[in-house]
């Protein structure tokens, strides 16, 4: 399950909904990771752009990978502005036992940071400033910047 929400996430309702939906599915472990917008560098908020078709494809590939270990992944992410001290991201893994879920949540979140097509901006005085210094080129970046293929 992938949810994209305009503005901040209501983390408690998302946790509660996921728990209610999956607690009877005989998973023994439910591990969550929550991203909260910090107050730093004078930002009023963070803001996000999402390319939804590719985010869904990325997420579906992860769901297939999780299935090979008897697990499922869940994710919710904000689109648009999220003020400081509000929630912008929740990832979760459910699995039969804790070891699979603990390992997978780390891999899932790290791959999310490196490859999910989401762009982050600092919001200061109502201006959006792309957080380029905190962003990561997607694997394979630069394919159009090199010389001709046969050179």
């Amino acid at each position: 399950m992938l949810r994209i929400v305009e503005g901040p996430l209501h983390s408690e309702s998302i946790y509660t909904y996921w728990y209610a939906r999956y607690s009877s599915h005989n998973y023994g472990a439910y591990i969550t990771f929550t991203g909260i917008v910090r107050a730093e560098k004078g930002v009023d908020a963070l803001s996000f752009d999402i390319h939804e078709p590719m985010l869904r494809a990325w997420f579906d590939a992860w769901q297939s990978r999780a299935a090979t270990e008897g697990a499922i992944v869940l994710m919710a992410h904000s689109n648009g502005d999220v003020p400081i001290h509000e929630c912008s991201y929740i990832a979760a893994v459910l699995s039969q036992n804790r070891k699979v879920a603990l390992k997978m949540i780390d891999e899932f979140v790290e791959d999310f940071k490196a490859n999910a097509p989401i762009w982050k901006y600092d919001v200061k005085e109502n201006k959006r400033i792309y957080a380029m210094d905190r962003s990561t080129p997607i694997e394979g970046a630069g394919i159009l910047s090199t010389g001709r293929a046969n050179e």
Partner: protein, 73 residues
């Protein structure tokens, strides 16, 4: 013709281009200083599938997306 779209912070409107290869596309895009700035850090998708092979052909009607560095969460 293909359509080239520039995602996230690039802030450039989509362009229609008559190119059939990555080499031709690269040459066209490099003509713009503003776009050339982004090329070394952008991944490329055709019709929402990431491409890693520069010999991939471009077909009439393809939508090519340039994806700058990401940072979700």
């Amino acid at each position: 013709m293909i359509t080239v779209e520039f995602l996230g912070p690039i802030g450039i409107a989509p362009m229609a281009m008559a190119v059939a290869t990555f080499d031709e596309l690269s040459e066209q895009l490099m003509k713009s200083e503003e776009i050339a700035f982004w090329l070394p850090v952008c991944a490329v998708a055709i019709n929402d599938t990431l491409i890693h092979d520069r010999s991939t052909p471009l077909c009439d009607g393809d939508r090519v997306s340039l994806l700058p560095p990401v940072c979700g969460g």
